[in-house]
Each structure stands twice: as structure tokens, then as C-alpha cells.
């Protein structure tokens, strides 16, 4: 049973996706803390910004590049909306001079806060679902590979 490239990209996506799930959990919790006045927005943004913008966006982009390389177009298509959203989000981040997409000075505005929180939940759901999809994709890729070899 050979380990082909599509299967590799799926297993990577699987692992990375697990991280992403944790990130979005972290994200949701962080905003909940903010909302309940548990944490200072400055600290919260300082901890959130690197996780979200650098890690999450880059990781997500990374396994999608793998998908593209391995020709898994369907999986890629599933992720394209989120990529577009991420790019747009980064492009219009409030503090242009920094890389962070959360601005402690505006984050406490109730509308921003609720939007971010909703975003966290939606992403969490998306990553969870796609986790199982990647698992399935991984198995399929292996199967396909096995069938071809036999």
C-alpha cells in the first residue's frame, strides 16, 4: 500500500485541521471572556492576533496548496470561500500597520464583538465538519490507490 500524494495531503489536512479546531475553540473562548469582562482587551488581542492571523490563516492556506498540488479540486473548492474570506479579512484589518486583525481599541464595540464571536462558532463548525471530510478523503485516496495498484 503505497502512500500517494493525495493521501498525504489529506493526512496533513487532517492534522492541521485538528489544530484549527483548537484555534477556533480558543477564539470562541477568548471572545467569551472578553464579553464577560474577564480579560483585558489589550491582552486578549495580543494573544489572539498571532494565533489567528499568522497561524490560522497560514495553516489553512498551507493544506489547501497541498490540495491544489495533488489535484484534489473538490476539497479545494470547499475551502475556497474560507480562503477568500481570510484574505479579505486580512486585507481590511483595522490596524494596517500591524499584522493583527483584532484591534483592541475597537474590539469592544458590541457589534464587532458579536461578529467575531459568531465567526468563531461558524469556523468551529466548519473545521469540525471538514475534519471528518478529510478523514473520509484520506481513506478514499488510499482506497483509490490500492485499487489502482491491484
Amino acid at each position: 500500500m503505497a502512500f500517494n500524494f493525495p493521501a498525504f495531503s489529506y493526512i496533513i489536512a487532517l492534522i492541521v485541521d485538528a489544530f484549527l479546531i483548537f484555534f477556533s475553540l480558543f477564539h470562541v473562548i477568548a471572545f467569551d471572556e472578553l464579553k464577560t469582562d474577564y480579560k483585558n482587551p489589550i491582552d486578549q488581542c495580543n494573544s489572539l492576533n498571532p494565533v489567528i492571523s499568522t497561524s490560522e490563516y497560514i495553516l489553512h492556506l498551507f493544506f489547501n496548496i497541498l490540495f491544489a498540488a495533488s489535484g484534489e479540486w473538490f476539497s479545494l473548492c470547499l475551502n475556497i470561500p474560507l480562503i477568500a474570506y481570510h484574505i479579505n479579512r486580512y486585507r481590511t484589518r483595522p490596524v494596517m500597520s500591524g499584522y493583527g486583525i483584532y484591534d483592541p481599541t475597537s474590539i469592544m464595540n458590541a457589534d464587532v464583538l458579536t461578529r467575531c464571536q459568531r465567526e468563531g462558532w461558524i469556523k468551529l463548525a466548519f473545521y469540525l465538519l471538514s475534519f471528518f471530510y478529510y478523514l473520509y478523503g484520506y481513506v478514499i485516496a488510499l482506497e483509490r490507490d490500492r485499487i489502482e495498484h491491484t
Binding site: P41, R91, M96, S97, P104, T105, S106, M108, N109
Partner: protein
């Protein structure tokens, strides 16, 4: 016959049929005659007062007829009743129906022929067509089924238990319809004829007599809702005044006419809920109006009929019940008698017999209605006493000046904001309105003029006096008085819509503006061991809480029941125990607590002041150092603070200069730090020193400083480094950093982007070459690519967002935030002559709760700018200051505050961190309605500001404002506060222009105006027949302000605005308190050449102050022989026109001739003559409210400076901007 002359008058009027005036008058008369009626029945003992008039009175039949005639004529109202015969609304019917033909009046001696005719006509007509029309016209009320006689009677008793039930409504309706069928004795006929007025007394009659059980009940039940209705109460006074003869006529009419608005889309069921139980019905008239309220048809036009129906019903009821009584018993007569009493004196007596009888019955009903607030408002809230509305009207803007435009005249009067907003849409009068509306559209559009202003027809829309903030009416006098001053707390609406969809429909922005630290002349300060707060939401106890009993109170924000501490029973004023409501906390909604220790995280900090001064070449040239140091020298002893006050100085150019003020030295010791990239403090101490101990050294330093850098030619300015040092110096304590900046900060950390600066300068100069533009574009694309939204997508100018948003490095933002965290506020004084990138450097103030002051093109050699700078600085140095402050805004459950405007850092969803708070800082919050508020009567906002005073005391200043709930669109729109809306809009627009683009913000402004006016038009429900641009009186200035905003420095287009000025204007929008903001947006202009002949009022010191009328900011208001003063807030400009009277020049200005007014006339000489005195008094009067006196500049009409004045005539067309009138035209095309 006293009455007769009146009659004649009315008839005449009717013939000429003038607007609302005539309309009201008939009513008034009707009241008068009614007293007479009972006299016939006198035998059983009339009240003495009535007796007096007995002899003169016409026999009662006659009187009635007259009234009838008049009334009917009146109701038909337009000059020719005939025309309308075909489609007379049911409104007219009632009177007509009930009248037996035999009674028809024709020959009454007092009545003029005209009236008689009219009466006859309407009556006759109505008789014929009554029944069918009636039923049809009020479809929702009366189902055909209900017409049956039985239903009419039976429902009454059932109505009692459930006053609000819809069935009841039907009942009343039924009875009404019945009336037509029943043949009545004379009496009935009379009553019905007289109906609008008569009906009132009738209702009351039944109550007193015990035998009349069923009827009275019904009445009461009916009454309940409406009487409890606040708006209605307002009506009351209006109605009552009618009784009083002449003088008040005008005001009375206003209210009346106002009501012509049909209540828009009233949710019928909701109304009753909100209404308060009228346990204590006040004046008899109050009880009357309720009827209309009850059944709201969704359709407005139907309203009128219904109201009428109700009236009729009552009449009928009375009739039905009475006839037997009248025959057999005294009581029967009693009824009418009482009517008499009640009717004539409603205005004055609240205890008339009918009322008294009412009360007991009404109260049980109340219990049923009790809701959240029931304990607080167990009783019907007392309407404002009859007398109240009038004075207020007058306040809110005299009708007189606007008279030239007929419509305007009426509209302005009634529309005194309070009235407009407060009127009960459902008052009895409204019933009439509706009638009229129903009657015919032609001829009644005029009426709308009384309520609505056609902006296109009203060039002079400004009230002659200051625009007063609309008052909030909670329905209880006590609460109204306790409510927070509108200067401090202001909401964009005086009534909060009950749910979000209603808010959306009205298209009004919802938000509050707060000026929390305003200088107050009277502020109750409380020191107590326990500050009473809600245990759940931490709300401070306030006048609007509900007391469950003397030991417990119910929070008005979260509705939790809390215990009241023992101590709270103690009244510090009278030094006795007892009623908690005597406590100052319960009496005043603005209050200050001296906080006990648990409100301190650390010992209160001392007052610490650090001054950072730019000493680069440009700064030295501007010469600001002299002013600053001299002023500081003068004011050192008056700086707010105690014995711990510390002070320090740092100057900076391309290096940092520290001044060690060590003990024992005779000279300040200067230390220079050249390394500005990695700053450090040269010595650990003696940089910030105790002011008291080192006073001499500090003074020595201040006297040396101005000339110390005279020979420096350093062009650099290391503001970033200086701020970092400041942070290091003040970190442990916190305090206030004052920065004087004269040039673009260009070196060191956080130095502004030099390239950006240069480009922006080019641009603001407007002379950038094409190649330069391309370069600029490239620059944008590389550096600011995200927010690249150029105006119209093509041309770029300095207004595009990249220049408006700070180009802050994360480091600089974080510095601002760190400062905020260490309780350091940075205040900026920008005395620039070139571009300094305020957008960027104001960020440090923005997040640290500081303030920004800007003096463009400052040169100390220019007397005007120096004067202005010094005044501002002096105020700044000596004003109150609060350190390490936080402000928390709470609001009633169901509302949420979602966006904050101002200078602060939002630390939590409702917590603003304000390292410093000053009396000139204003804040704005946008509010969202998250849950339906229909089950509460009022909502509250509470702002609590916790700060350390300069004396080292920890204090909490609490402001609470309470607003009633409105359930109809009509109410909501009429409760709008135009100035506050403008204040909030401008803040939102600043955000918009930062986030997207200026043109977006401008469009948003226009859209807001269009939306609001459109929704108002929908409210009016006029269909397509109207022309003109209609606005409610409370919003009549909105388009004016918006057109002014579009020409305001922050939002105008065109290259003529320097970028710094624009940004500063935006900062002002965000941070200035409303009253200053409005003045900047739309300056006040007054004629001052004839002050001595103007009306005079007394100011606080009992000195006479002339009050010239405000003028529109248009050249058409200027006269060639006048002098005009424009008050722009921090500046007053007096424009003297060439043909001004010689006496004015000589006496007021002290110059021999027109040409002798110099170009630099910056003050008005003090002379001892009346004109001069008056001018000074007037200027001082204008200065009273300002944080510091404005500088005065006198300009000849032919001087080059006249532009200063003329550019502010913003109603006129200026380069690439519409005039006000054109703007209105534009709105009109858009309003659908």
C-alpha cells in the same frame, strides 16, 4: 347674555374659516354654554358658582341648539358643508343623528344666519344618511352584528372587569350605533348635538349617581386606558385652557392642530398595556379623552369616527340610564348639574365632584393593570398641570417671528417641540383631527400645516432663540423634575420605541450623548458608608427605582429586588429617619458620591502634570513658548491639585531635554539625551517634583525656557521619544501629559511617516502636479492599499481615508494603550504652521482620554490667534480634572450600547477607561434595542463616572436619565431630538469616513435626511396629494443642520480644507459636547446694530441682556446698514456693514467712522453708553455657556477678512456645494 357675543365671533370666524384658530374656538364656547344647561334643572341645588350666571342664561334648550348649530357647523368646518355632503365622515354624524328634527335650531337669536344654516345643513344631512354611513365608516369598530340593541347594553357591565378588552370597544361602538335608533328626549338630543364638548360632561354625570351602576362602570373602564395615557394628559391642559378666554387662544390652538397627525399604524392592543392606570384621575377633562384611545383602528382615518362614536356612546348611555331617573329622582338632575360644575372649571379644579366619584371606581381597575412599574406608578401619573405646557411652548420658540409664512406660523407654534412630541395622539382632540382628516382632504391639508412644516415654504426655519432640548415627559411631575439635565445626558429621542422594528421604521438613529463631567453649579455630594447599588447589575440607586416597601427597592435596570440598608432611611437634610424617598439619591438624578475605600485599587493618585514642549525651529518661530510659560507662571498656584501635586517639564527637538529640579539648587539643571531610539531617563528622580516644594525652581525654569532655544535651528521633532519618556516618568503614578507640538514629528520612534506628510501637504495645498499625483497614487497603493477608496473611485484628494486614518505603528498604538493602562492621559496643543499629521498624533489622545486643541497657522505675533490660544490654555490649566477615571454606562434590560464615540479606551462592553476626564469632554453611544420593551413604561440609562479628584478624593458621579416608551411611529418621530440626532450622526459619519470614505459619509448624511423625512411622510399617510417637503416640527432643523454639516470642515469636499483642519474637525465631532458642536456646525448669527431696542432679559446677575433674534446664515439676512455678530463657539466675528448708523460706530464700537475700523480690531472698547453696554452684555451673555470666552473680531465689510464671516453663511450656495434651498429641493425629489 354674555355668551352671545362670543357666538357671533365664532360665526364670523367660521365664515372666514381660518386655520386652526376657529377650530378651537368653537370648542371653547361650547364649554361655556354648557354650564347653563343644568340651570333649568336647578331645583335640586346647583353649586353656588353656577347660580350666579343663572339669570342671564338662555333657556337650556336654546343654548343647546345654539351649540348644536355651532358645533355642527364647526365640525363640518369648511366653508361649504354642502360640498361634502356626499362624503361626510362619520365624525360629523354623531351630533346630527341624535338630534330630533323637531329640535333643529333654525331660529336662535344670538346665532348669525350663517351659523344657523350651517348647523341646519349638517344636521339635516346627517340625519338622513346617518346610520349606514356610520357603520360603514367605522368598520373595524362596529361589526354589523354588534348593532343589536342588546349588545349595546349588556357589554357595559362586562366591560368593567376587563377594561381593555376588545369586546368592550365593540360595545361602545354598538351603543353608539344604537343612539341613532333610539328616540331621545330633549336632553339626549342636546347632548349629542353638542357632542364633542358636551360629551365630556356627560360622561361624568353618571358616575356620581349610585343607581347608574352599569353605565358609570363602562365609562370608567373606557376611560382608563386613555386617561392613563401620558400624552393625553398633555392634551388636557390644552383643552382646558380653552375655557379661559382670550389670551391663551393661540397656544391652545397649537396643541390642537398638532394632533391632526393621525397616529400611524397604532398597534391597537399594545396601547392599553402601556397606559397607566388612572387611579387618581385628575381633572375631569382628563377622563374624557380616553375614549378615543381605546379602539385603535389600524387605519387612521377610521380613528376619527371611532372617537366620535365613543363620545356618542357615553351620551347614549347617559340618556338611556337617565331618562327614568330624571323623571323620578333628583339624581337624574344631579348628573347634569355636576356636569356643569365640571365643565366650567376643569382647568382649575381637580377635585370637582365628578372626579371624586371617579376615583374610587377607577382605582380597582388599576390593580389589574399593574405591571412592572406598578408600584412605582400605582396611580395615573399626574399630567403636567394645565398651566405647564404653555410656558414651555413659549420657551421652545416663539411663534411670532415666523408669522410671515402662514403655514410656518402655525406649524411653528404648535410644534414647539415638547408639544409635538408629547401630545397624545389619541386625545379627544385627536379624535377631532381624525374626523377632519376623514372628512375631506381638500381644505384640510391646510391643517397639516399646523402640525407639519413644509420646509420649502419656510425659509426662516430657525427659532428666534436658542433651540431648546426637548423635555422628557415621564408623566409624573416629580420624576420629570428629577430627570437628568439635558445638558448632561441627552438621547436622540425623548421616547424610546418599544421594539426594534419600530425604531427601524422611524429611521432615526438611537443613541445617547453624555457630557458627564460638565461643570455644575449645583451638585449634591454624598458621603456615606454604603453606597446603595443593585446587587445584580450594580446600578446605583436613583430617582427612578421602584420601592416595593420601605425596606426594599426594585432596580429599574434589571428589575431585581434589593434590600435597602438601614442607613438609607436616614435623611441627612432633616436628620430624621423615615421615608427613603427623601434621600438626595432619590431626589436628584445627578449626584456625586465620595467613594469609600473599596472603590480604590490603590491610594488616590496625586495630581501629576508633565509638560512636553516642542522646541524645534518651527516651534521657536511660532513663539508659543512665551505664551505657555507666561501663562503657566500665572496659573501655577491655581493648578488643580493639593499638596502632593507634581510637575515636570521635558522639551524636545531632535534630542530630549530634561530639567532636573533638585532640591537645593538655585537653577534648573538641564540634561540632554541624544539617543532617541532607545530612550532612558537621565536621572531617576527630580524630573517630576512636588510643585509646592520647588515652586521657585519651577518659576525660574519657566522664565528661562522661552528664550532658551532662540538660537536653535534644529528642524526635527522627536515627539515619539518624548512620549515614551513621559510614559516612563509618569508610569508609577499616572497623570496628565500636555504636549505642545508645532512641527511634524519626524524622528525617533513613532515619528510620522515623512513621505506621507509631504504628500499630504502637497495635496492639501491642492497644487500637486500630475506626476506628483501619480506618485501619490503609487504611494497609496504600496503603503495603504487596504483602505484605498478614492472619492468617486477616480480623483484623489486629501480626503481619502489613508490620510484620515492614523498611520500608526503598532508601537504607537500600544504606547497609547499603555498610557491608558497607567492612567496617563495625553493632551495635545497643536500650534502648527505646517502639516503635522494630526490624524496620527491625535491617536495618542484618542485612546488615552485626552483632548486635542488645534491652533492652525499659529504665530504669537498674531494677536487673535495668541489671544485665542491663551484663553484656551488658561481654561485648560485651571479647569477641573479627574484622574484615573472609568465610566460605566448601564441601560435597562432590553437595550444595549454598542458603539462608543469619544476619547477613551473601551475596556469592556460597557466600561470606558478614561485616564483623565475633563469638563469639556463629551461622549456618544449608539444604542440598540434587543428585546421588545412593550412591557415596561420607561427605560433608564445610567452613567457612573468614578474618578479621583485633584484633591485626591475618590468620587463617583452618577447621572441617570429615564425615558418613556413610545409604541407608535407617530410618537417616535415626534419625540426626536434633532440636535442630538445631529450630534450622533456626525460621530457616526466620522467613523464612516475613516472606514470607507468621505463621500460615503456625505451620502450617508443625505440618506439619513431622506429616510427620516420619508418615514415621516408615511406617518402622515397623506398619499400622493401633498406637495412640498414636510417635516415634523421637532425635526424641522434636521435638513438645515445636515446641509450645514456637508459644508463643515470635516465633511466638505474640495481642496480648500487643510487636512489637519479636517481631521481636527473630525476629532471635535467625536469629542465635543453637543452644545458646542452644534454651534460649530451651525453658528449663531445675531444682528447687533440695534441691541438697545431689543427685548431684554435678566441674566443670572440680574443685569439686563438684550436678546436679538437669531438669523439664518444666509446673506439675505444681512442688511447694508447693520452689524452682525456670528458666534462660532471659540470665536465671535462682528461684521460691520458700510451703512451702519453712525451712532453705532461711535457709541458701540468707539470708532469715529466706518473706515476707521482697523483690520486688527480684536476687542470692543468699554465705553459708558447704553449701546456699548448692551453689546458687552450680549457678548458676555453668549460667553456664559462656553468653557472659555470667545475671542472677538470686528470686521469691516470691505476688509479682506470678511471671508471669515462670509464663508460661514452656509445656507447660501458656495463653490461646489448646494445652498440650503437647493438641498431641500434635492431632498424633495428623493423623499418618497
Amino acid at each position: 347674555m354674555e355668551i352671545e357675543p362670543l357666538w357671533c365671533a365664532t360665526d364670523l370666524e367660521k365664515i372666514n374659516w381660518l386655520e386652526g384658530a376657529t377650530f378651537v374656538r368653537p370648542l371653547f364656547k361650547m364649554y361655556q354654554p354648557t354650564p347653563n344647561i343644568p340651570e333649568q334643572s336647578l331645583p335640586n341645588g346647583l353649586p353656588p358658582n353656577l347660580d350666579t350666571s343663572k339669570q342671564n342664561i338662555i333657556p337650556h334648550d336654546k343654548a343647546h341648539y345654539q351649540f348644536n348649530g355651532v358645533h355642527s357647523a364647526h365640525s363640518s368646518r369648511s366653508s361649504s358643508p354642502l360640498v361634502r355632503l356626499g362624503h361626510i365622515p362619520t365624525s360629523q354624524l354623531p351630533p346630527a343623528r341624535s338630534i330630533p328634527s323637531s329640535q333643529l335650531p333654525p331660529s336662535r337669536s344670538p346665532i348669525t344666519t350663517a351659523t344657523q344654516k350651517m348647523a341646519g345643513l349638517s344636521v339635516g344631512h346627517s340625519m338622513q344618511s346617518v346610520n349606514p354611513k356610520f357603520s360603514t365608516s367605522t368598520p373595524n369598530l362596529q361589526s354589523p352584528v354588534s348593532f343589536g340593541p342588546n349588545s349595546a347594553f349588556s357589554p357595559i357591565s362586562s366591560a368593567m372587569p376587563k377594561p381593555k378588552s376588545s369586546t368592550e370597544l365593540e360595545d361602545t361602538a354598538v351603543t353608539n350605533s344604537r343612539t341613532a335608533d333610539i328616540t331621545k328626549p330633549q336632553q339626549t338630543g342636546n347632548h349629542q348635538q353638542a357632542f364633542p364638548t358636551n360629551s365630556i360632561p356627560n360622561q361624568q354625570q353618571p358616575v356620581p349617581s349610585g343607581s347608574l351602576l352599569t353605565r358609570p362602570n363602562q365609562q370608567q373602564s373606557v376611560n382608563l386606558p386613555s386617561s392613563s395615557n401620558q400624552p393625553f394628559q398633555h392634551n388636557l391642559p390644552q383643552q382646558q385652557p380653552q375655557l379661559r378666554p382670550v389670551a391663551q387662544n393661540v397656544p391652545q390652538q397649537q396643541p390642537f392642530s398638532n394632533q391632526f397627525n393621525p397616529p400611524q399604524s397604532m398597534p391597537g392592543p399594545q396601547l392599553p398595556q402601556q397606559q397607566r392606570p388612572p387611579a387618581q384621575s385628575q381633572a375631569p377633562p382628563v377622563a374624557i379623552p380616553p375614549f378615543p384611545v381605546r379602539g385603535h383602528p389600524t387605519n387612521h382615518k377610521l380613528h376619527s369616527t371611532k372617537t366620535i362614536d365613543r363620545h356618542i356612546t357615553f351620551q347614549v348611555c347617559r340618556v338611556l340610564t337617565h331618562p327614568p331617573q330624571t323623571v323620578s329622582s333628583v339624581q337624574g338632575f344631579n348628573g347634569p348639574v355636576q356636569n356643569l360644575q365640571g365643565m366650567p372649571m376643569p382647568a382649575t379644579n381637580q377635585t370637582g365632584p365628578p372626579q371624586a366619584t371617579y376615583q374610587p371606581q377607577a382605582s380597582p381597575v388599576n390593580g389589574q393593570k399593574a405591571n412592572l412599574h406598578s408600584n412605582r406608578y400605582p396611580v395615573q401619573q399626574t399630567g403636567s398641570p394645565p398651566s405647564q405646557p404653555f410656558p414651555q411652548q413659549q420657551q421652545s420658540g416663539g411663534p411670532l417671528p415666523q408669522q410671515p409664512y402662514q403655514q410656518a406660523a402655525y406649524s411653528s407654534q404648535p410644534q414647539s417641540q415638547y408639544l409635538a412630541s408629547q401630545q397624545a395622539p389619541y386625545g379627544p382632540q385627536q379624535g377631532y383631527q381624525n374626523q377632519y382628516q376623514g372628512v375631506t382632504e381638500a381644505g384640510f391639508n391646510k391643517y397639516w400645516g399646523t402640525e407639519t412644516i413644509d420646509l420649502l415654504q419656510t425659509p426662516n426655519v430657525l427659532p428666534p432663540r436658542k433651540v431648546e432640548a426637548p423635555r422628557i415627559y415621564l408623566g409624573q411631575e416629580v420624576l420629570d423634575q428629577a430627570n437628568c439635565s439635558t445638558d448632561i445626558f441627552r438621547c436622540t429621542m425623548t421616547k424610546i420605541p418599544e421594539n426594534n422594528s419600530l425604531l427601524q421604521k422611524s429611521r432615526l438613529p438611537l443613541g445617547v450623548l453624555i457630557h458627564p463631567f460638565r461643570d455644575l453649579s449645583h451638585l449634591p455630594v454624598i458621603q456615606c458608608n454604603v453606597i446603595v447599588r443593585c446587587r445584580a447589575c450594580r446600578t446605583y440607586i436613583n430617582p427612578f427605582v421602584f420601592f416595593a416597601d420601605s425596606k426594599r427597592w426594585k432596580c429599574n435596570l434589571c428589575y431585581r429586588i434589593n434590600e435597602l440598608p438601614e442607613e438609607f432611611q436616614y435623611d441627612p437634610v432633616s436628620k430624621t429617619y423615615g421615608d427613603p424617598s427623601r434621600r438626595p439619591e432619590i431626589k436628584a438624578s445627578t449626584i456625586e458620591y465620595i467613594a469609600p475605600a473599596e472603590y480604590m485599587l490603590r491610594p488616590p493618585q496625586p495630581a501629576v502634570y508633565l509638560y512636553l514642549m516642542d522646541v524645534s525651529r518651527l516651534a521657536v518661530e511660532s513663539g508659543y513658548l512665551h505664551s505657555v510659560c507666561n501663562l503657566l507662571l500665572e496659573e501655577l498656584k491655581t493648578l488643580p491639585g493639593d499638596t502632593r501635586t507634581q510637575i515636570g517639564f521635558v522639551t524636545y527637538d531632535s534630542a530630549l531635554h530634561f530639567y532636573g529640579l533638585a532640591e537645593g539648587q538655585s537653577q534648573p539643571h538641564e540634561m540632554t539625551v541624544l539617543d532617541i531610539d532607545d530612550v532612558f531617563l537621565p536621572t531617576p528622580d527630580n524630573l517630576l517634583v512636588n510643585l509646592k516644594d520647588r515652586m521657585e525652581l519651577v518659576m525660574e525654569l519657566l522664565s528661562q525656557l522661552p528664550n532658551r532655544y532662540n538660537n536653535s535651528f534644529d528642524n526635527n521633532s522627536a515627539l515619539g521619544a518624548a512620549l515614551q519618556v513621559a510614559y516612563k516618568m509618569m508610569g508609577p503614578t499616572g497623570g496628565r501629559v500636555t504636549v505642545f507640538q508645532a512641527s511634524l514629528p519626524n524622528v525617533g520612534p513613532g515619528g510620522a511617516d515623512g513621505e506621507r506628510g509631504r504628500l499630504a501637504e502637497d495635496y492639501s495645498g491642492g497644487d500637486a502636479s500630475q506626476s506628483r499625483k501619480r506618485l501619490l497614487q503609487k504611494y497609496y497603493n504600496t503603503k495603504c492599499k487596504s483602505q484605498l477608496v478614492f472619492e468617486h473611485g477616480r480623483s484623489i484628494d486629501a480626503t481619502s481615508p489613508p490620510f484620515l486614518t492614523p498611520s500608526m505603528t503598532p508601537r504607537k498604538v500600544s504606547l497609547a494603550l499603555e498610557c491608558s493602562g497607567q492612567q496617563i492621559a495625553v493632551d495635545l496643543f497643536i500650534v502648527n504652521s505646517t502639516y503635522v499629521d494630526i490624524a496620527t498624533i491625535s491617536g495618542i489622545s484618542r485612546f488615552s482620554g485626552g483632548s486635542v486643541h488645534h491652533f492652525p497657522l499659529y504665530k504669537s505675533s498674531k494677536a487673535l490667534s495668541r489671544d485665542n490660544f491663551e484663553k484656551c490654555l488658561r481654561r485648560y490649566l485651571t479647569r477641573k480634572i479627574g484622574f484615573e477615571a472609568v465610566m460605566r454606562i448601564r441601560c435597562t434590560r432590553g437595550l444595549s450600547i454598542h458603539t462608543f464615540h469619544g476619547n477613551f479606551f473601551v475596556r469592556s462592553t460597557d466600561l470606558l477607561s478614561l485616564p483623565n476626564i475633563n469638563p469639556d469632554a463629551g461622549f456618544g453611544m449608539q444604542v440598540a434595542i434587543e428585546e421588545s420593551l412593550s412591557d415596561v413604561k420607561s427605560v433608564c440609562f445610567q452613567a457612573a463616572l468614578l474618578y479621583t479628584s485633584s484633591k485626591g478624593e475618590r468620587r463617583i458621579r452618577v447621572h441617570t436619565v429615564c425615558l418613556p416608551i413610545a409604541s407608535t411611529l407617530h410618537d417616535v418621530i415626534h419625540s426626536a431630538d434633532q440636535q442630538c440626532i445631529i450630534g450622533l450622526l456626525s460621530k457616526m459619519a466620522v467613523d464612516r469616513s475613516m472606514q470607507s470614505s468621505l463621500s460615503d459619509a456625505r451620502e450617508a448624511f443625505i440618506n439619513v435626511a431622506i429616510d427620516i423625512l420619508s418615514s415621516y411622510k408615511i406617518t402622515l399617510n397623506l398619499g400622493t396629494s401633498t406637495s412640498g417637503l414636510l417635516a415634523p416640527s421637532c425635526l424641522k432643523l434636521l435638513p438645515l443642520y445636515i446641509s450645514a454639516l456637508l459644508k463643515y470642515a470635516a465633511f466638505r469636499t474640495g481642496p480648500s480644507t487643510r487636512l489637519d483642519d479636517r481631521v481636527k474637525a473630525m476629532v471635535d465631532m467625536k469629542t465635543k459636547p453637543l452644545y458646542l458642536l452644534i454651534q460649530q456646525i451651525y453658528p449663531d448669527m445675531y444682528p447687533v446694530h440695534n441691541l438697545e431696542s431689543q427685548e431684554v432679559i435678566l441674566n443670572s446677575e440680574e443685569e439686563p441682556v438684550p436678546l436679538p433674534p437669531r438669523l439664518q446664515l444666509s446673506a439675505r439676512c444681512l442688511e447694508n446698514k447693520g452689524a452682525f455678530l456670528m458666534d462660532v463657539g471659540d470665536q465671535m466675528i462682528i461684521l460691520v456693514c458700510p451703512n451702519v448708523p453712525q451712532e453705532f460706530l461711535m457709541e458701540a464700537l468707539g470708532v469715529p467712522s466706518y473706515d476707521d475700523i482697523s483690520e486688527q480690531m480684536y476687542e470692543i472698547p468699554v465705553l459708558s453708553n447704553l449701546r456699548n453696554q448692551r453689546l458687552h452684555q450680549f457678548v458676555n451673555y453668549l460667553n456664559e455657556d462656553k468653557p472659555y470666552a470667545a475671542s472677538v473680531q470686528v470686521i469691516r465689510d470691505n476688509s479682506p477678512n470678511r471671508v471669515l464671516f462670509l464663508e460661514r453663511l452656509i445656507e447660501d450656495r458656495v463653490e461646489n456645494a448646494l445652498s440650503y434651498h437647493e438641498f431641500l429641493q434635492h431632498l424633495k425629489t428623493q423623499v418618497k
